[in-house]
Symmetry: C2
Subunit: 213 residues, 2 copies
């Protein structure tokens, strides 16, 4: 099993967490996004979309982090990343998608680059953009976590799952862009709980072999 | 069952298609996004994220279109929206997520509005942005469809499913922004096949009661 990733990619970070939770061993291929490895023919042969992560597993290449997480959960059910009931699964998937659809893609490197060029925005405008979308999503998430009895030590009950896997890398990004996270007490509490677990801590960008400043 | 939607919302369009394919009756509540209904307390009480769709079903409110589609498929399995094998499901979810994560959110109304104000871009720059992200995603999708024997009359085999449900509204958006879709022959072929089905055609924005110019 080989994971194509980049230390700072949130989507790759999610897959690293899931592989750790499932205790699955994997090799890593490092795709240097800032240098443009993702647009080279070698990687486009792996993933024509030119994005990480991609996971080679069971004789095929999977792309899109949420699809990979669902596959891992179906093929390696323990520990489960989704609750046993349909309503719970819908809740957890929705929480994960608030991050994975409505925050992260808008703040993806390729989008930030487009804001810089051709659109001509400076770093301050780009940071404001970045934190605007995190704040918008985190406010919704915080409300949904605070207002639901199914929230426990983690986003859903007392076991880490898909929603936590999506949330933690986004909080790391928020910290990196110095967003004040105090307005989101459930999010910061759950983040701290997750980071005490090896599966999350070992997946952190700062602990990856391809880490750079 | 009540669907909170807007005729022009791609994400609501997806849910309309799925409800039609599953032959589920529903009532509609129309949330006028251009007028700002989604930010009013009445709707924030339904969905704190202030986005459509939201679906009231089985005594709960579900949000996030892909999570809703998975819930509908789990609770009303016929006809299935996902293939029976894990590898097929991973493929179909990934194709859907290319649209739902990597195209649609970047072109969402709230993002286009942010480009206009505070960022100050005009309609031409916004249309260029819009089509840039569709083209980027469609090129990847086209390659993945063309290069895989599992592609059939639809994105995956000869039955419509989750990937087609994500794709069709995005093609409608591309047409609306006058993107030349000739570079994507598999996408346009599958789109035409889908639009011959009542479940897709009846869900089209132009056929919704809240339709406006």
């Amino acid at each position: 099993m080989q994971l194509y990733g980049y230390f700072r990619s949130s989507a790759a970070f999610r897959v690293r967490i899931a592989l750790n939770l499932k205790q699955l061993d994997y090799d890593s291929a490092f795709i240097h996004l800032r240098r443009g490895d993702q647009s080279q023919p070698a990687f486009l042969g792996v993933n024509p979309q030119g994005l990480v992560p991609a996971l080679e597993i069971d004789g095929q290449t999977l792309i899109q982090s949420l699809a990979i997480l669902e596959y891992l959960d179906e093929t390696h059910p323990e520990p489960p990343l989704l609750p046993p009931d349909a309503a719970g699964r819908a809740r957890v998937r929705a929480l994960a998608q608030i991050v994975a659809c409505d925050i992260h893609p808008i703040n993806n490197l390729r989008v930030l680059r487009y804001l810089h060029r051709p659109l001509g925005h400076d770093q301050t405008a780009i940071e404001t953009w970045y934190n605007h979308w995190i704040d918008s999503g985190f406010r919704a998430l915080e409300g949904l976590l605070a207002g639901d009895k199914r929230t426990g030590a983690f986003c859903h009950g007392d076991r880490p799952g898909l929603a936590d896997i999506a949330l933690v890398p986004q909080v790391v990004n928020a910290e990196r862009y110095r967003l004040d996270v105090h307005p989101y007490p459930n999010i910061t509490r759950i983040f701290a709980t997750c980071m005490k677990l090896d599966a999350f801590a070992a997946a952190h960008p700062e602990r990856q072999p391809d880490r750079e400043e």
